[in-house]
């Protein structure tokens, strides 16, 4: 079974993540789209690692997951602060810096 199937799936998931990132209005869902993209990249890493018979790909995925955990903690804290101050999760309304 060729590895390119996995890569194609990874690309599709990444694309869907981008679409979610662009289209969604809720800041939490936008954040989730980013996680979706990270997941897609993880799949590509593992698939490449498998194709080359090397383990470095898995190590990278490990680090990506750790960084994603840290990012989620800080990002969600920011979301909480925004929700508390602006009373809204809609990114359209978070426009203080907009011209």
């Amino acid at each position: 079974m060729p590895i390119s199937y996995y890569l194609a799936l990874s690309a599709v998931l990444f694309g869907l993540g981008v679409i979610g990132f662009v289209f969604k209005r809720n800041i939490i869902t936008i954040f989730m789209s980013i996680e979706l993209m990270l997941n897609a990249v993880n799949l590509a890493f593992i698939a490449f690692g498998r194709a080359l018979g090397q383990l470095q790909g898995q190590v990278f995925v490990f680090f990506v997951i750790v960084v994603a955990a840290a990012e989620a903690a800080v990002g969600l804290a920011i979301v909480i602060v925004i929700a508390r101050n602006r009373r809204s999760l809609n990114v359209e309304r978070i426009n203080l810096l907009k011209l």
Partner: protein
């Protein structure tokens, strides 16, 4: 059709359906659950690629910890369904074409690629080799990530702490 291909197709279908559902659902909780489905399907794919350890970590950390954080925040903020607004000009003229272009481009490039699997050492050696890599070759980045996580915890604490000046929210309102 080999069993592997069949399993792959099923898991891929679940993953894509979940990812589409993340976008289509309007309530963040439903999006979150769809995303969890995607993550579990991906863990299944990792198993298919013979990386059991990463599959377990994917479920424990991603689905079991990070997404729990999302679900908690959604519940605590009592986030409601997303408001429908007109698509911004930016999204309409730049975002959509770019996203579609990205999908087509990636699919095209990957379709052209021919990479086949090379045989891998037996599964026990994979986990062992992974730990060797993590704790010998990559030990410095590994230690750095622990500092990163510590900083992230402190940052989250400082950010989310309710200051004295901000009055507590009264009642249970739905934030959209």
């Amino acid at each position: 059709m080999t069993p592997q291909l069949l399993i792959f197709l099923v898991l891929a279908a679940i993953a894509i359906a979940g990812a589409v559902n993340v976008i289509l659902q309007r309530h963040p909780i439903h999006s979150a659950i769809s995303l969890i489905t995607v993550m579990i399907a991906l863990a299944g794919l990792f198993l298919l690629l013979e990386s059991e350890f990463i599959a377990a970590v994917q479920i424990i950390v991603y689905a079991g910890a990070i997404m729990v954080l999302f679900v908690f925040v959604i519940m605590l903020l009592n986030a409601g369904a997303e408001e429908r607004t007109d698509m911004s000009r930016m999204a309409c003229y730049v975002g959509v074409p770019l996203a579609i272009f990205l999908l087509i481009e990636l699919a095209y490039q990957i379709g052209a690629a021919t990479l086949s699997m090379t045989p891998q050492p037996p599964a026990e050696d994979v986990t062992r080799g992974l730990s060797m890599l993590l704790f010998q070759d990559f030990v410095f980045p590994f230690e750095l990530t622990s500092i990163l996580i510590l900083v992230a915890i402190l940052g989250a604490l400082v950010l989310a702490q309710r200051g004295e000046s901000v009055p507590a929210k009264s009642g249970r309102e739905t934030i959209t």
